[in-house]
Assembly symmetry: C2
C-alpha cells in the first residue's frame, strides 16, 4: 500500500509551502479512501512518495486516471494567502491504494 | 483552528523528503484529535503552518508542552530507508486546535 503525492515543481514554492500543500493533499485523499484502505495503509507504515509534476493540466489528467482506476485522490487548490494566486492547483494525492495500482497512475514521474 | 508542523531543519532533508515527513506528522496528529476538532479544522480549510525546528530534544519539549495543554500531537520517526538513519525524529505536528492554544506551544518558531 502507498500514497503518491504529485506537487507542481513549476510553481517554485518554498520548502515549507510545498510541504504544507503536500500534507493537505495527503490528508484529503486519505479522507476520500475507504475504511479498509486507510487501515491497511496505516498498518503498513503509511508509505508516501512525493513526485514532481509540471503543470495544472498534468495534475488533472492524473486525477482522471486515478478516478477511472477507482483510487481515492484529492486535488489541492491554494487559498492564495501567501506565495500563490488564489485557486492555484498545487498538488494531487493518489491513494492510499496498492503499490501496483498507484504506480499505474503516477509510476512515470520523477521523485521531487 | 490550525495545525503547526515543526520539521527539523538541521537534518538538511531534501524538499520531497521534508514534505513526506510533514505530511506523515500532519496525518498522525489529525488522527490523534477528537472528532469535533477534526471537523472544525476541516470545515475552516485545514489551515497548516510548517515551522523550523533544530533538534530532537526541542521537538520532544514541544510535544510535552502540547500534551500538557491537551492538544493532539504526533512525533514522526523516519523509517530510514533513504536519507536518514532509521529512527531519526524528523517532525512534530501539533493540533488541530485553536490558533491561540497552538501558538502557545509553537508560536516562537520561524516559518520553514
Amino acid at each position: 500500500m502507498k500514497q503518491a503525492i504529485v506537487a507542481r515543481a513549476d510553481l517554485n514554492m518554498g520548502e515549507g509551502k510545498l510541504a504544507a500543500q503536500v500534507a493537505h493533499a495527503s490528508l484529503s485523499a486519505y479522507e476520500d479512501a475507504g475504511r479498509k484502505a486507510r487501515k491497511r495503509w496505516k498498518g503498513s507504515g503509511q508509505k508516501k512518495v512525493v513526485l514532481r509534476g509540471d503543470s495544472e493540466s498534468q495534475l488533472f489528467e492524473l486525477a482522471d486516471k486515478a478516478e477511472r482506476k477507482g483510487l481515492p485522490y484529492a486535488i489541492v487548490r491554494d487559498a492564495g494567502h501567501t506565495e500563490l494566486e488564489p485557486g492555484t492547483v498545487s498538488a494531487l494525492a493518489v491513494g492510499p491504494g496498492s503499490e501496483e495500482l498507484v504506480d499505474r497512475v503516477t509510476g512515470d514521474l520523477p521523485l521531487y
